[in-house]
Every structure is written in structure tokens, then in C-alpha cells.
């Protein structure tokens, strides 16, 4: 197959986004139609790529490599393995559903334009097999976020939150960049030539001392975006301030970007450093998991609840990575996808409620099930997923993570399990307050959601239930990716 499928997926959004921004006198409808067509094609292509990935063969597939700055050993090198293929699909799902729920956004030209530029960055990071490509795409993904939050965000906190988010992530990426450069130059001494190619850096044989020093810097640089404690603080503020589609992107995909890059660059390039440092990092993620759940349970703002629940769930992703064993990594891989879809669904529902009621204050809401039954059912499904209820993808993800932690250190698993009950209690409380109980007088006439919103909700629910009932939909992909990681860890 000569079609450069992966590059097509990566660049289609940015091309469409640029067209939107430059298209003179385009009507609102023309922009929206272009956006919908782009999102649908991107989703279809990413699904195609996912299905076409041969997990029996494993390894990197759909690889494309073109020299970019050959003198510096930099090339445009992309490819997907079993861990990144589901994340490409996830990005496709979120861009599709995010576009659908933003149908009535103000200034669609700039909004969709920026959103699609961001999407290209995200696809690029997941596919990158070259450190420079990865950093380049990473910045492409982070920068539009600032504008999207500051322009379309919630009036009260958007400037603060946008600034906070951008500064956190910039500091993180600078740290990671410095670490990355250090690796490249250290590798040059071993290899004899300069390269940014991740596959070659893996074999560079960086010294154990080097790895021990640089691992935490690189890992943390990326893990900031993954929301690791104690630098998780930007994320709930960012989620709350952002407009719906951006929150979906942000919590659904961007946080995975951090965890994925921490694994891809941190753990896979410096396995010895990972083995040395992860024992204390896993304790930080334990704080994420338990503390995040408790903080979520005392929030009065609908969106903050979901924001902090993301902190808790992303803690599980990084915890699974930190176990460095088969089960933990497997669970992390599934959790990245599952949490992405789940949180996108959460934020979509929150957005639908907020657009109609103009409040997110939980005690002021009530009885929404009567007015927005689709959204209510979707929220309950997302809630059940987040409390790890069997039959939904969250269970399929968290179960092996906990098994991995059992292998690693039983006490951590036992303590982390507390979060399950805490999550159940706040999810049920929020569902009860917002969707049941008496409907406040002022919301008697709010309209139900439209057909675009419904398609978005059904698409997201499909993945949560599908994976929950048939883990085979996703697990073989992840496992082939995990096996590759394990060979690196074992061989180092």
C-alpha cells in the first residue's frame, strides 16, 4: 500500500484548518461543513489505520521517513505501534465528536481552524519516531490551546487558566527538551553520529549514570502534561475554563500525550533510569489517584468534579506505566484510550447542560433527566465507567493496572483501591443532584440536545461499552505494543 495513510491523518487537519483561517468571506455554514467533513474523514482514516494495523506482526507499521535536516540527523519519521494506534484512533474519535458538539460555537472559522492545527500536533506526537518531530508536534499541540481557552473560554477564569496551563506546559516541555538534547548528544558519543531518531536512540546504550540523572527530568517534563502530582494543578483549572470541545480534547487527548511521551521518550530511551526512579514516582501517582478522588468529591462545580476525576484517573495511567510490568503497562494502554473517551463524554455532557442552564453549580441544577434524557444516560454510562464498573472499558483498564501494582507492591494496590469507592460516591452524588430530583423552575423550557450531539454521545458510548464487553476490540493492539516495551526493558 503506497498511500501515506499516516501522513494523511497527520496533515489533513492542519490543511483544513489553514484553509478555514485563510478562506475569504466564507460563510459560517461553509466553515462548519468543511469542519464536519474534515473531522469525519479524519475519524474514518484513523479507524482505518487502527483496523489495518497488524497486531500479530507487531512493531512499527505505516512507517514513513524523509530527511528533514540531515546534517543534524533530523528526519520526519513517523510510524505507529500497538500503543500508539489506539491513541490515533482516540484522537480521531475526539476530533469527530468535538466538532459535532461545537456546531453552534461563536466564530467557527477561528475556532475550528485552531482546533485542527492542534489536532495535527496531537497526531504528530503519537506517531513521531524522531525526537525532533516529536517536540515540534508537541509545541504545535500546546500553543493553540492557549488561544482556544483565552478566546472561547469561561469569562471568569479563562485568562488565568490559559496562562497557567501554558506556563506549566512550557516549563515541562523545556525540561523535556533539555533532557532530549542531552540524550542526543550523549548518544552521539556512543554511536559516532548525530541522530534524533528514536529507534536509534533506543540502541544508543546510554550509560546508567546518565540515565539516572536525566530520567526524572525528561519524565517529569512530559508527565506535567499527564497531570502528575504535584504539578497537576493546571489541569482542573484549564478544563474548567476551556470551551466544551477544547476540554474534551484537553482531558481526552492532551493528557494522554504527556503520559505517552513520558513512556516513549522517558522510559523507553532510559530504561535503567526508569527502574531506578519509578519507585518514588509510583508513590506520587498514588497521591494522584486517592487525593484526586477525594478532591473531586468535594467540588460544587460540575466541571471541576470531572477535572479532578481526570487527575485521579491519569494517576492510574502513570501508575501502570511505573510498574514496568506486563499487566501494569497493558492496563495503562487501555486506560489511556478508555479515559480519553470517557472524559470526552463527561465534558460533552457538562457542556450540553451548561449551554442550556448557564450554570455549573451542582446544587442549582436538578431534574435534567426529564429535559436532556440522552445526556443523562450518557453521563451515567461515563460515570459507571469512571467508577470501574464491570461491563465498561474502565474496568478492563483498571483491573490489569491493579494486578500490575499487586506484582509490584501490594500495599499500593490496596490503598489505591480506596479511590474506587470515593469515585462511586461522587459520581452518584453528581448524577443524583444534576439529573434527578426536582427540576428548577427556571429550566422548565430548555431545549433537548440536537441530532449532532446525539451522534457524538452514541459514538463515545459505543467505545466504552464495546471495549467493556469485548476487550478483544483493543487489547491485542495494546499487548503487541507492551511486548515491545518489555523487550526494551528486559534488554537494557
Amino acid at each position: 500500500m503506497n498511500l501515506p495513510l499516516l501522513s494523511l491523518i497527520i496533515f489533513l487537519p492542519i490543511v483544513a484548518g489553514t484553509v478555514m483561517l485563510l478562506w475569504p468571506n466564507a460563510s459560517r455554514d461553509a466553515i462548519r461543513r468543511l469542519a464536519l467533513v474534515t473531522a469525519t474523514i479524519t475519524f474514518a482514516l484513523s479507524a482505518w489505520l487502527y483496523v489495518a494495523y497488524d497486531f500479530v506482526a507487531g512493531g512499527y507499521q505505516f512507517v514513513e521517513k524523509y530527511p528533514w535536516l540531515p546534517e543534524l540527523g533530523i528526519s520526519y519519521h513517523v510510524g505507529v505501534d500497538g500503543l500508539s494506534a489506539p491513541l490515533i484512533l482516540l484522537t480521531g474519535v475526539v476530533i469527530f465528536t468535538g466538532t459535532l458538539v461545537s456546531w453552534n460555537i461563536d466564530r467557527p472559522r477561528e475556532f475550528f481552524g485552531l482546533l485542527y492545527i492542534l489536532a495535527t500536533g496531537v497526531f504528530g506526537v503519537f506517531a513521531a519516531l524522531d525526537l525532533f518531530t516529536l517536540f515540534f508536534m508537541y509545541e504545535v499541540a500546546v500553543f493553540p490551546m492557549y488561544l482556544l481557552i483565552v478566546i472561547w473560554g469561561w469569562e471568569k477564569t479563562r485568562e488565568y487558566a490559559g496562562m497557567k496551563l501554558t506556563l506549566y506546559l512550557l516549563v515541562g516541555s523545556v525540561l523535556a527538551l533539555v533532557g532530549g538534547l542531552a540524550m542526543v548528544f550523549a548518544a552521539r558519543d556512543n554511536l559516532g553520529y548525530l541522530t534524533f531518531d528514536l529507534l536509534e536512540l533506543e540502541k544508543a546504550g546510554l550509560s546508567v549514570g546518565f540515565q539516572k540523572f536525566w530520567f526524572p527530568i525528561v519524565f517529569f517534563g512530559f508527565a506535567v502534561l499527564g497531570g502528575i502530582f504535584p504539578v497537576h494543578n493546571w489541569s482542573p483549572d484549564g478544563h474548567v475554563a476551556a470551551p466544551t470541545a477544547v476540554s474534551m480534547f484537553h482531558a481526552g487527548v492532551l493528557m494522554k500525550l504527556g503520559a505517552f511521551a513520558a513512556l516513549r521518550v522517558g522510559v523507553m530511551l532510559m530504561p535503567e533510569g526508569a527502574k531506578f526512579h519509578l519507585p518514588w514516582i509510583i508513590l506520587l501517582t498514588l497521591v494522584n489517584v486517592v487525593y484526586g478522588a477525594f478532591i473531586a468529591s468535594v467540588q460544587q462545580d460540575f466541571k471541576y468534579v470531572i477535572g479532578f476525576s481526570s487527575v485521579s484517573h491519569m494517576g492510574l495511567v502513570i501508575m501502570g506505566i511505573a510498574t514496568l510490568n506486563h499487566d501494569g503497562l497493558l492496563g495503562s494502554g487501555v486506560q489511556m484510550f478508555s479515559h480519553g473517551v470517557m472524559t470526552a463524554l463527561f465534558f460533552a455532557v457538562v457542556g450540553m447542560v451548561y449551554d442550556r442552564t448557564h450554570t455549573r453549580h451542582i446544587p442549582s441544577l436538578g431534574g435534567m433527566m426529564k429535559k436532556l434524557p440522552w445526556a443523562g444516560v450518557a453521563f451515567i454510562i461515563a460515570g459507571l465507567t469512571s467508577m470501574g464498573m464491570p461491563g465498561f472499558s474502565g474496568f478492563i483498564a483498571e483491573f490489569p493496572i491493579f494486578m500490575g501494582v499487586w506484582r509490584y507492591e501490594p500495599w499500593i494496590a490496596i490503598v489505591a483501591a480506596i479511590s474506587i469507592v470515593v469515585t462511586a460516591s461522587y459520581v452518584l452524588r453528581v448524577a443524583h443532584k444534576v439529573f434527578f430530583g426536582p427540576l428548577p423552575e427556571e429550566f422548565k423550557d430548555i431545549p433537548d440536545i440536537n441530532v449532532f450531539d446525539r451522534v457524538a454521545l452514541v459514538t463515545l458510548v459505543f467505545f466504552l461499552v464495546g471495549i467493556g464487553v469485548f476487550p478483544h476490540m483493543m487489547v491485542p493492539w495494546i499487548e503487541s505494543g507492551v511486548n515491545y516495551v518489555l523487550t526494551i526493558l528486559g534488554g537494557a
Binding site: L330, G391, M403, A417, I418, V421, A424, H432
Partner: protein, 512 residues
């Protein structure tokens, strides 16, 4: 036909779920939904009867009709089903009670479609627990059943009543009960979840027969623990999760709330089947996985069972609310099951253990019938009078004779009158437990005495004494309601005079 036989368990398990999906596409008309839901629930019953006919009773101790498929390959969890005699008995109970509960629900007026869908979904969840031979699959069904039950209490629970939770927070009673049910059970299952994960890590599989074999051979240091410490911890994790579901003293406090607030059919299934899940868990998982720990801690379990019997009886006696009275009677009756299981664990392999286990399983079945009947009768009178306060009733014996007759009959079955079902099973339990835990069994007899007292109190307050002004609203049972009760009462009587048809299956299953 071969397909049907080879996949009989899958069919039984998923026809209710399929029914729920079909209901979703049917028109949202109350009558259609009710009949469709009811008729659909007859399919698993028919399939179960067919299963019963094809079941090889001589090998009742073995798992039959096994089905196996890869489900979650990388961690070796599979879709593995099978029935032995105990599971068969429980499957029969479930598929028998569900249609009756759905028939009893014809009086539900609000959101009928969702109600029937949830109920069928619940049936699949319960059946899955009895049929699973894979620990992870078992946990899936164990937890998933909570969701429909939560919503049944939360949305269709009794409309009246408020509960003061803490200063500044007052919620409707049904909301309080639903949350308490959900959070209690989830918290109880937490240890179970962790222990199952641990078993998976240690044995490398979740397939129950393999896990039992490998786990019992495990010794030395496991995961940094002494094997005996880890086994004791895992034993209690399992035991607490199941004890909470049974429920046995001191974990029973969610039950009176949940039962009282649940809609009538919800209480029927809650008492009739859901409580059995806990007892079944002891039989299927705790005894085979932890024979030594079960023996070591048998006295503690027996003590808890005894306390459930005594306090359950006293608490029931003290109730002014008819439904709460019946709810506490469940604690009382299920206490016998736990007492029997404890005795069997202590005296494993002896004749006493065998008798006690026979009694336990039969008591599970019997209590399913009597509790469902009692809750239905309480619900029927509540629907008419809109109150459950015993003091407000009176003198109804001549006023609504069919109802009165059925109430007396069912109460007597519950009391353990010889000739009716509970007598047989309680006798077997006492006979089996007596040589093992003499003191506990003797003290439990106090509970049995009080059982007589509270049952008679219920009958007296409702049926005798002067007629109250409520009587004007009270009409006798309708034909539909009679049809709910007749199969239950018939089985109570049959099991009372000729229990052997069921006991033989149970005996072969537990004795083998």
C-alpha cells in the same frame, strides 16, 4: 438442537438481556411493555426447565454444560460457564422468581419501559454470578447487578419519607437507601476485587478450577507475605464481601433500608435472589479456596450467623413497619444459612457438614420462596392502604379473606411450620450444626422462638383485632395477584411434604 444444548447456559444467561434490548425498540406503551417483559422472562424459565431435564443428576457435583471462550486473553480471564447441582438450584430459583416479580410489577405506572428493562438486565447479572466459573467473569456479574438494583430503588422506591443524614442534608428515604445499598456493597466488594486480582497474579489465571488447585498448593512467601497471612487476608476479603451481601450481623444495616424503600418486586428479588448471591459465594468460592482458613475462623462465622438469627428476630419483633418486619426476618433466616456454612467449614468432610450444607442450600431456596411471597403480600396491602404501619391495620381476616389466607399460609411457611418448606431446611441445619457448634446452635433456638413471636405479631396486627377506618380502601387480591402467589405457595407446600426432588440434587452436589 446441538447448538442449543452446547450453548444452553449462554442462552439462559443472555435471553433476559436480549429481552431488555427488544423492549427498548417496542412502543412505549405500558401494556405492551408489561406483557413483553413478562413473556420474555418466561423464556429463561423454560430453558432452565430444559436444563433441569438434561442435567445428569448422578454427576451433580461436577460442572456440566461447560462453555469456554477467550474473553480477556492477556490476563487469562475467560468466558467460562458451568453448572453443578447447587448452581442449578439457584438458577431455577432466579428464573422462577423473576417472572413472578415482573407479574407483580404490573401495577408500576411510572417509566414502565425502563423499569422492565432494568429488571431483565438484573436477571442476567444474577444468573451470571451463579453460572461463572471464572473469577473475573464472576466479579463482572457480581458488580453489574448493583446498577439495575440501585436504579430500581432510586427511581421506583417508595415516594414517601425523608431521611436526615447529617445536619443540613435531608434526602428522600429511597435516595438514602439506594446510596447506602450501592456504597456499602461496593465498599464490601473492594476487598473481593483486590483479592481476586491477587489470586490472578499468584496463580496466573482466573479459571476457577485451576485457581483452586494452584492456590491450595501455594506456600512459602507470596508477594512478600507469609502464605498463611496472605491467605487469611484474602479469606476475610472474600468473607466480608459475601457476608455483607447475605447479610449477616454486623454488616446487615443496609438491608432494612434497601428492602423497605425498594418497590415491591425489587424487594422480592432482593430478598429472593440477591441475598443468595452472598451465601452462594461462600459455597462456591470461600470453602474451596480457603478450606483451612474457613475452618480456622469457622467459630467467628458461626457467631455472626447466630447473632444474625437472634438479633434479626428481636429486631423484627420490635418493628412497627410491616415491611421492615419482613426485612429483618430475612436477616434472621439467612443467619441459619451462615451458621450451616460455618459448621460445614469446621467439620469439613463429615456427615454433619454434609447435612448442614444440604440444609443451607435448601434454606437458600426456601427463603427465596417465602421472602418473595411475604414481600409481595406486604406490597399488595401497601399499594391499597398507602401505609405500612402495623398499628393502622386490623381485623382484615374476614374483610379480605383470600389475602388473609395467603398471608397466614406464607407466614407459617416462614415460621417453619412442619409440612411447609422452611421446616425441612431449618431442621437439617440445626441437625448438622448441633454436633459442631452446640452452644451457638442452642442459642440460635432463642431466635427461633422469637421468630414465632414476630410472625404472630404481624398476623395479629394485620388480620385480627377491630377493623380500622383503612378497611374501606382495602379490596381483596386481584386475579393477577393471586397468580403471583399460587406458584410460590404451591412450591412451599410441595417442598414441605416432598423435598426429595430438590434435596437429591443438592445432596449429590454437596456430598460429592
Amino acid at each position: 438442537m446441538d447448538f442449543l444444548t452446547n450453548h444452553l447456559l449462554t442462552l439462559i444467561l443472555f435471553t433476559p438481556l436480549l429481552g431488555a434490548v427488544v423492549l427498548w425498540f417496542l412502543p412505549d406503551d405500558k401494556k405492551t411493555q408489561r406483557w413483553a417483559g413478562f413473556l420474555f422472562s418466561l423464556v429463561p424459565l423454560a430453558l432452565t426447565l430444559w436444563l433441569w431435564a438434561r442435567f445428569d443428576f448422578a454427576r451433580a457435583a461436577e460442572f456440566q454444560f461447560q462453555e469456554r471462550a477467550v474473553w480477556y486473553g492477556p490476563i487469562n480471564a475467560s468466558y467460562h460457564l458451568g453448572v453443578d447441582g447447587v448452581a442449578l438450584t439457584m438458577v431455577l430459583l432466579t428464573t422462577f422468581l423473576t417472572p413472578l416479580a415482573l407479574l407483580a410489577s404490573f401495577s408500576v405506572q411510572d417509566r414502565v419501559k425502563v423499569y422492565y428493562m432494568l429488571f431483565l438486565f438484573l436477571e442476567t447479572g444474577m444468573l451470571g454470578v451463579f453460572l461463572s466459573l471464572d473469577l473475573m467473569l464472576f466479579f463482572v456479574f457480581w458488580e453489574i447487578g448493583l446498577v439495575p438494583m440501585f436504579f430500581l430503588i432510586f427511581l421506583w422506591g417508595s415516594p414517601k419519607g425523608e431521611r436526615h443524614v447529617w445536619p443540613g442534608l435531608t434526602v428522600p428515604s429511597r435516595v438514602y437507601a439506594a446510596f447506602k445499598f450501592m456504597i456499602y456493597t461496593m465498599a464490601g466488594s473492594l476487598g473481593l476485587l483486590l483479592a481476586i486480582q491477587m489470586l490472578g497474579v499468584v496463580t496466573g489465571t482466573f479459571d476457577l478450577p485451576t485457581v483452586i488447585e494452584r492456590w491450595n498448593q501455594a506456600s512459602g512467601t507470596i508477594l512478600g507475605f507469609e502464605a498463611s497471612t496472605l491467605k487469611a487476608m484474602a479469606f476475610w476479603a472474600f468473607a466480608i464481601a459475601f457476608a455483607l451481601k447475605v447479610p449477616v450481623w454486623p454488616f446487615h444495616t443496609w438491608l432494612p433500608d434497601a428492602h423497605t424503600e425498594a418497590p415491591t418486586a425489587g424487594s422480592m428479588i432482593l430478598a429472593g435472589v440477591l441475598l443468595k448471591l452472598g451465601a452462594f459465594g461462600f459455597l462456591r468460592f470461600v470453602l474451596p479456596l480457603y478450606p483451612e482458613q474457613a475452618k480456622q475462623y469457622a467459630a467467628a462465622l458461626a457467631f455472626m450467623g447466630m447473632m444474625a438469627i437472634i438479633f434479626g428476630a428481636f429486631a423484627a419483633w420490635g418493628q412497627e413497619d410491616f415491611k421492615r418486619l419482613v426485612a429483618y426476618s430475612s436477616v434472621n433466616h439467612m443467619g441459619f444459612v451462615v451458621l450451616a456454612i460455618a459448621a460445614a467449614a469446621w467439620a469439613a468432610g463429615t456427615e454433619h457438614a454434609n447435612i448442614a450444607l444440604n440444609g443451607a442450600v435448601l434454606q437458600m431456596f426456601n427463603h427465596g420462596l417465602t421472602a418473595a411471597g411475604m414481600f409481595f403480600l406486604v406490597g399488595a396491602i401497601y399499594e391499597r392502604a398507602h401505609t405500612r404501619e402495623l398499628k393502622k391495620f386490623g381485623g382484615l381476616f374476614g374483610h379480605i379473606p383470600v389475602y388473609a389466607g395467603m398471608l397466614v399460609f406464607t407466614s407459617m411457611a416462614s415460621l417453619g411450620l412442619p409440612g411447609l418448606n422452611s421446616f425441612v431446611s431449618e431442621f437439617l441445619i440445626v441437625r448438622g450444626a448441633w454436633p459442631v457448634f452446640q452452644l451457638f446452635t442452642a442459642l440460635s433456638m432463642i431466635g427461633l422462638l422469637i421468630t414465632g413471636a414476630y410472625i404472630l405479631k404481624g398476623i395479629k396486627d394485620v388480620l385480627f383485632g377491630p377493623l380500622t377506618e383503612l378497611a374501606d380502601h382495602l379490596t381483596d387480591l386481584t386475579l393477577r395477584e393471586v397468580l403471583v402467589m399460587v406458584p410460590l405457595m404451591a412450591l412451599m407446600l410441595i417442598l414441605g411434604v416432598w423435598p426429595m426432588w430438590l434435596l437429591e440434587v443438592i445432596n449429590r452436589a454437596v456430598g460429592g
